[in-house]
Symmetry: C2
Amino acid sequence: MAVMDADASAALARLIRSVRVAALGTLRQGAPQVSMVAFLPEADFGAFCLRVSRLAWHTQDMLADPRVSLSIVETDDGRADPQTLARVALRGEALQVASEGEPFERLKAAWLERFPASAVTFALADFGFWRLVPRDARFVAGLGRTYNLSAEALRRAAI
Amino acid sequence: MAVMDADASAALARLIRSVRVAALGTLRQGAPQVSMVAFLPEADFGAFCLRVSRLAWHTQDMLADPRVSLSIVETDDGRADPQTLARVALRGEALQVASEGEPFERLKAAWLERFPASAVTFALADFGFWRLVPRDARFVAGLGRTYNLSAEALRRAAI
């Protein structure tokens, strides 16, 4: 397993902190289902937060089976070869966050700072936060530069 | 199930034809796995083509279980609310394409036109084409405008 140098680590942190939407993979009747989600990484990359409606397919999927994957891809800038776009895919577990208390209020404030247009969802009872806790991750820094990362190695990139 | 009008249908066709990379959902040891892939839609949206290495996780996954999901998301343009980005997610089956014959040559030409930098992969024995054949699709044209589409309805958008 290749170990990230400081440049790769910084590139990973930049990718995770700059991109706003990700592809969430869930299990739906045992088959893969991918959908777009807005996400917010926790400061130490120990979890990736989503705010989703209970009516959405992906939420129903996570309630039925917490195993998820989340893929974060550098925004396509129209470069000659899109295969060189940086991307990271996490695998882990989805956990619901209680919609009250201090952790919720902190997350709400951070979420609204990043996604001000989502303020309306805080008046809707079907919306809630989830934390995706990575077990491991796979970072493709560019063509042929792939790193398999433990959750701990991922957190080190946040520093 | 809402029926797409001409505007929604045109927006779906534009989305599928303009975006170059998608999120591929596969099953890996029974859990969801998402990865980035370059893709090329067939002209009638009857299948979505990938060119992948046999060494890649997603290829191993598709060899083990052909059930896939493919999510195509409008490129984030930095708008206020990323939840309004248009996206479509297909569910279907992945089939390998033989690396010889007339269908292969036509696909190769179309692929190279869209992804000229991938020419090098045609000298590598581990790369091959796959066709993802949709069973159905879910098109989110924007906030609150969601269409569940049969494979046939998806093909009608290609016209």
